[in-house]
């Protein structure tokens, strides 16, 4: 595997291999010197066309923990502002000979284009409303850590599905690992044809009690201006997960950043059922495993992995 563009690039075995490797990397963060030499001398280029705090920093930390060199390229303030096309930017940056390009872009399918225009491997760190595969991997990792397996789980994804790349990647990942997925949200924010992804669609929380996992999505303020929902107040009344709606046997997830008091009530964010902090923590080790998977290669012998040596 050279690229990670979509969750569909992975099969169940590949997901489990990446998650198992991520698990072995947790030990690195607990050391005094938080670094292994696995990717020493490799170049990772972070190409971010959208603002991002946790995804970009966790990719950077992941690459550095594996001793790769990292170049951060943010679109604003660069040649992109002067009208340089994506193709020219990618070809220019390719002259720096990166081994891997991590791209975040507002455009669906742009990582696939980049993969065609460069010899480097490409990781999709979010393309428009399409996919965000490393988020799905870290969510699956977090769930596995908490519940052991996803097999037979009933997972509800609640909120603005239309505008969520996290939802699309997670639907694919959760189902690949044996879970049953239901998406739930306002009818204006569930795209027509969503059932084609294999999930069920609900428009109310009436059957939320059937869920083992409640995965809430961020409700963006600009949705109100387009009349997708009449008001945040109305949205919260219908779809907010609070202490009454969340039962004690359910776990709660959210990709962040949370709108406290909109999609989630404060009491559930701070409850022991919430895995939100664990999701963030998983981001680094899972992205380390993705970088390792793409750069070190599966077949390449890497004894350093099982007994990592401080760099």
């Amino acid at each position: 595997m050279r690229h990670l563009l979509s969750m569909e690039d992975l099969d169940r075995a590949a997901i489990e291999r990446i998650l198992d490797r991520a698990k072995t990397f947790t030990e690195v963060s607990e050391r005094e010197i938080k670094k292994v030499p696995a990717l020493r001398g490799r170049r990772v280029l972070n190409l971010f066309y959208e603002s991002s705090t946790r995804t970009r920093s966790s990719f950077e930390l992941a690459a550095k923990s594996l001793s790769a060199d990292v170049i951060n390229f943010a679109a604003s303030g660069s040649a992109v502002d002067k009208g340089e096309s994506l193709k020219d930017t990618v070809q220019t940056l390719s002259a720096y000979r990166p081994d891997l390009i991590v791209i975040r872009t507002p455009f669906v399918g742009a990582p696939e284009l980049v993969a065609r225009w460069t010899t480097a491997g490409v990781v999709n760190a979010g393309d428009g409303k399409h996919e965000h595969p490393t988020q799905a991997l870290l969510d699956v990792y977090t769930l596995r850590e908490r519940l052991g397996s996803l097999e037979g789980l009933n997972i509800w994804i609640v909120g603005d599905v239309t505008h969520s790349r996290v939802a699309r990647s997670n639907i694919i990942a959760f189902q690949m690992l044996g879970a049953k997925v239901t998406v739930c949200g306002p009818p204006t924010l569930i795209p027509r044809g969503m059932e084609a992804l294999g999930c069920d669609v609900e428009y109310t929380l009436d059957r939320l009690h059937e869920a083992d996992v409640v995965y809430t999505l961020r409700m963006q303020h600009e949705r109100m201006t387009d009349s997708f929902v009449p008001s945040l107040r109305e949205y919260a009344a219908q779809y907010q997960i609070d202490g009454r709606r969340l039962s004690s046997r359910q776990v709660l997830m959210h990709p962040g950043p949370v709108n406290r008091g909109v999609e989630l009530a404060a009491e559930v964010i701070d409850s022991p059922q919430a895995l939100i902090g664990q999701q963030v923590a998983a981001g680094v080790v899972v992205r380390m495993a993705v970088l390792f998977e793409l750069l070190a290669g599966r077949s390449a012998p890497q004894p350093a992995l099982s007994t990592p040596v401080p760099a």
Binding site: S85, L86, K87, T105, P106, F107, V108, G109, A110, E112, L113, G128, K129, H130, E131, S164, R165, R168, P191, R192, G193, M194, E195, A196, L197
Partner: protein
Amino acid sequence: MLDHRETPPADVLIKGAHVLDPRAGIDERLDVRIANGTIAELGPDLESDGEVLDGAGKHLFPGFVDPHVHLRTPGQEHKEDLDTGTRSAAAGGFVAIVAMPNTSPTVDSAPILRSLRESARREARVPVGFMASVTHGLAGETLTEMAELREAGALGFTDDGKPVHRAGILRKALQYQKLSGAIIALHEEDPTLSGKGVMHEGEVSARLGLAGIPSISESTLIARDAAIAGYEGGRIHIQHLSARESVEAIAEAKARGVQITCEASPHHLTLTHDALLERLDTRLKMNPPLRAERDRQALIEGLRSGVIDCIATDHAPHAREEKEQPFEDAPMGTTGLETAFAAVYTELVKPGVLPLELIVHKLSAGAALMGLPTPLIGVGKPADLVLVDLDASWEVGESGYESRSENCCFDGRTLHGKVLTTIAAGGIVYRERRLTAV
């Protein structure tokens, strides 16, 4: 009202081709002798001391007429101009094409139209007719001087690329049609429904996370405009039908006696949004978008039943750098002149979905709708002919395009049916390269 540069009138004998002209009732192996650009003789075993084209094993059809082409001139000659666009038409077997007015500037005044027609008389390889816009600058606000534009040679009026969004403006245009007498062609899309959509709204857009253009954005406006045309007794032509609901809306309007005609494009007849799952290729981005299989089937059935009157390419060239962008940023449109017959033949005729004579008929039926003479194979008729090898297969784009642009949605596909020679308005305007090399 068609313009083109002078081509020497052909003196040529086409020998042994299977001649098929559904309107003339010809469907047999015949020799066709053309003298001074006119069909002089039809029959078996004709002789000539001039040039002879070997038609053995080939088919000869009346030339195709495309009522919907973008030649991008004036103003966007980096995409296409009158020379390259009409070369492309000739290579596709078209003997007349109709250019849309959404150029830069818009063809919305008689001086612009006159100068364009003058250019065509210098540059166009095949006869071109020009539409003028319904409203100034396609803004949908104020009517153009339709009577003067008509006198200056406008074939008809359209704001193609955009709908005439305000019902009141369309109504006035249809009232004014009593004076201009020219067809009004409509791009049907309710922008409050299509919004920022970049592809068909359905399972594929849901999966890709792309904003969708729902079928109802087209069909609801067709229903509205058919009602207005019926009320005013006006005549409208609906461009590039894409959705099943639209076929139904037109069928209902026709049944009520509304003077409404419509066209469908080769890409909507042969491709669906599923193609975007294989590869998010900007050449597959057009407006209206490739829709679902049920829509494609409805279009095919519409051709068969007669609800759909003709095939039109909506040839929409764009430069490479414009299409080499992320899908959402790329402009809408595919080229289509060079692949129209082959695409429809390969996907619909060869598998036995539609008969060859129906396709041949529909590929020139747009002429009459635009008030142009329909090519006909008969003694004394001007030679408007296309010689085709149905057995020849070719990979689209393998030897480039005649068009200045290469944004063809069929690029890389293997198609059957190759245009060998095109004779337009009596002159040979295209010869397949391999044929002339012999």
